[in-house]
Homo-oligomer: 527 residues x 2
């Protein structure tokens, strides 16, 4: 069995190549790779002194920071398991996850101190907090992250004293879900995350001279996706505590960022911010975006205003996360007006080198080009399963070992993947399949529509009928009939909503900002 490697390898290489170059920039803080390694070298001793052993889970509830980066680099290489928590979740949701993962330690910062104290009381397995912020902890006695890093075992002349870990060991448990049921812990091994590092760089090569802006939260797979790749090429991590259009612009300008990850909504906010136009953004060479396709109009504006190229990435926590993507070349062609390239902006690109992706029918056979089915995939990046959920793990894989993404899509003759819906959200009405994203797009054609969620509701005759929950702008007069009429202009009759519930309050959303159709649906479905 060939050695797949551990998460210590990227840092080992960075120390060989650029030990005295800057590894991390976080506000005023600068750490060279040697300094970073010296801190991380102390961590295993520090964690063991708290009573932790191999395989123990260490939770995190904090903003992006250099200490947050250190958690991802240092905890798995100490033989333990990261369980990074979404700061947008409610305390009850956080408690469920901490109980489920069985984390013994929770690393936190000033902003999340109170919630963390609450979790410490609620969660029986949780033994202690770790203060990962500047200054002393509020209670004066909670152990500090910096003290854990001051344990024995400094890195010697670029060497990196590994714990006895291997590529098949668990590095992280990252929770997904909430839109469709209770959260599930995705088990990510060292080998999974290393494979992803290679795949992301085969999609978007990184360079030692890159300064990569971590503005996506590190509790999301997208925020972790480039940590190990960038370390492997010994580039510089630039940390933003979170997305703020003004602050991100200032960091890109001041710290000479070369690569940044922003979702299209953030990009829109960034371009609209009054300070952006006056900034020197000349260092910026690549913008990676995810989560949704980019409208060609936004792309045109962005290309006119920014010096960077564009690349889209599609992934999921279970794939750790990168699966497919489009390239700067795809975007250039679209902006030049190539109609095929413009159409492909709505895709999520082509499968990455290293990952085997198929679109399959319900019977498990492979779809023809253009035919809609479920995206399934396999590769060294795919999770080993869901933590303590053997049934859900078994259901997540096909008999021949492909992970079932639950995303419905078709693939064009150039290998581009077009996602049409989540399979759970698809409506079957009178034997016809209705992809809800298509109906939602039709509703959004009306300028008054602010939010729209489409799902099926029970119907004796048709099995299900198409229903929409729609939030309209407060100052606009619009009724259901007008919206339905507008839909008819864009989509087939059987796809048009039979009923619409107009509302003014926002739709319920998960911590990750996804609309909770499950909650909306509950009102209509007995059971």
């Amino acid at each position: 069995m060939a050695d797949q490697g551990t998460l210590a390898w990227p840092l080992r290489r960075a120390l060989q190549l650029r030990s005295d170059e800057v590894a991390v920039i976080d506000g005023e803080v600068r750490l060279t790779y040697r300094q970073l390694a010296d801190r991380l070298a102390g961590l295993p001793t520090g964690l063991r002194r708290l009573g932790l052993g191999a395989g123990d889970r260490v939770a995190g509830l904090f903003l992006n920071s250099y200490r947050h980066l250190e958690m991802w680099l240092g905890v798995p290489t100490a033989g333990m398991v990261v369980n990074d928590l979404n700061i947008r979740l409610a305390p009850a949701e956080l408690a469920f996850i901490v109980d489920d993962s069985g984390a013994r330690l929770l690393v936190t910062d000033a902003r999340h101190w109170e919630t963390s104290r609450e979790l410490l009381e609620r969660c029986p397995a949780l033994e202690a907090l770790v203060w990962a912020d500047d200054g002393p902890p509020p209670d004066g006695r909670t152990v500090r992250w910096d003290d854990l890093c001051a344990g024995e075992g400094a890195a010697v002349d670029g060497d990196w004293p590994e714990a006895s870990v291997d590529g098949d060991m668990l590095a992280a448990i990252s929770y997904t879900g909430g839109t469709t049921g209770r959260p599930k812990g995705v088990m990510q091994t060292h080998g999974n995350l290393l494979a992803n590092a290679k795949h992301t760089m085969l999609h978007n090569p990184l360079r030692p001279t890159d300064r990569f802006l971590h503005s996506s939260p590190m509790f999301h797979a997208a925020g972790v996706a480039n940590i190990y790749g960038l370390t492997w090429v010994a580039g510089t991590h630039v940390i933003a505590p979170g997305f703020d259009a003004d602050n991100v612009g200032r960091i890109i300008e001041t710290d000479r960022v070369t690569v940044a990850v922003l979702v299209p909504t953030m990009l829109n906010m960034f371009l609209a911010h009054p300070a952006t136009a006056g900034r020197d953004l000349s260092s910026w060479r690549l913008l990676i975006y995810a989560a949704s396709p980019i409208p060609v109009e936004l792309l045109r504006r962005a290309l006119a205003a920014l010096p960077c190229e564009f690349s889209q990435a599609y992934g999921m926590t279970e794939a750790c996360p990168h699966v497919a993507g489009s390239t700067p070349e795809d975007h250039r062609r679209a902006v030049e007006g190539d109609p095929a390239a413009v159409a492909r902006l709505a895709s999520c690109g082509t499968p990455s080198v290293g990952i085997d992706v198929e679109v399959r029918r319900e019977d498990g056979t492979r779809c023809a080009t253009g035919e809609i089915g479920e995206i399934v995939l396999r590769g060294p990046n795919v999770m080993s399963g869901y933590w303590n959920r053997p049934a859900e793990t078994a259901a997540a894989f096909t008999a021949d070992g492909f992970y079932r993404s639950g995303d419905l899509a078709w693939i064009d003759d150039g290998g581009y993947l077009f996602i049409v819906d989540r399979s759970k959200d698809m409506i079957i009405t009178g034997g016809e399949n209705v992809y809800t994203s298509e109906v939602e797009s039709a509703l959004h054609e009306h300028p008054a529509v602010v939010e729209a969620a489409v799902f099926g509701i029970p119907d004796e005759r048709w099995g299900e009928t198409v229903h929409a929950e729609v939030v309209v702008a407060p100052d606009v007069e619009v009724d259901e009939d007008e919206l339905i009429a507008r839909c008819r202009e864009h989509i087939a009759g059987f796809k048009v909503p039979r009923s619409i519930n107009l509302r003014t309050e926002p739709l319920p959303k998960s911590g990750a900002g996804k609309i909770l159709k499950r909650e909306l649906r509950q009102r209509y479905w007995p059971e």
Copy 2:
């Protein structure tokens, strides 16, 4: 255990992305990816009809051709094992390898027909030849490669019917050695070759629009190194039967080659060829070279004459083969006169992303920066062992699982590896280590020296003394004393040869063109 993938994955992706684009150009032959897949889809049936089963070895003895490429793509994905033979070996050496691998089939061409017939008689396990050339076989009845490919099982709409293979299965047994003992079969798995494909592309990204010239023989690891990577990005394979300065230039010009692999000696011949200056080589973007460092003077001339960038690769069959390399940026800096970059042209670059490389002392500890030791490495690309050689396999790995390369080197403060010698070739004289490559370089400072091989010979007082076998140009007057005096100008006294044997006949070389020091040494060492 995450799925590392099989050698079918690159072709599966190429079919999704570019099924109707040209996959292979070989003289007048053009095959699209769909056509290539249709041929390969028939191969498993064709091979099974000859009685072969999973794990059986299929030997090859032929020039580069599209059929040779098909052997590397099609035999492992049919569940069998490639055993590609070095056409420069003598029949007795070939017979040893075929007997050792136990190959049941030998794929050959017109040029190697007689030798192959001889092997069929000599090797008991070998059952049949396969004619992989144009037209009918000379004996009128040997089975044709093209007929094997015409078996049932065509690729359907871009699907690729895999045999039941997995990433840990053997894909090839590639023989090395001959300079130091009987050849050993390096066991390369599907996972090893896929890992290498990723590593080579993380070093030198390849693009769908690339036309890659296969001029290195495919029986060498260097000739196979880019087959799977280029297929994965769905680029175009351009085949040269072998290196010929005129023919290679013609192919680059005619087939619009973008990437080519040439060793510095070939590059020299290519630049010196009278036809080169008149050619349109504007398509050529990257030259990858291996086997030896490039003299800065040759690099300057090449950069002035050619439109491409330069990248060096260092590897070994046991690493399948890529380990380290230097980049176009390294070469640009050297040509701009940066002294550190010029010095680093003599290195073999930095370890590749994905591979963990160290330089170690004899006691197994890690060398400090600048200290000479043995290069050891680990990674998913490292062979699973030597075929049927448990003792040699055990000796090839350290207790903590690193492959022992046998190359002595030091590593500078930027991670660049400088190889000084093969560890077996190092001379210990009076307690001092002498690296023979350094002495050979000193000898080459004399313009009359055509070839030089330095090794230790037994000495009662010093243990060993430094001896040189030197081939001088036939028309030059030079004696041992003059050469020794010249060496004294360049290297320390203890490194200067104590004895020199001047000769006019060339030094003995292996099939791979390496000087056989073992043979030269034999005369001086009683057993």
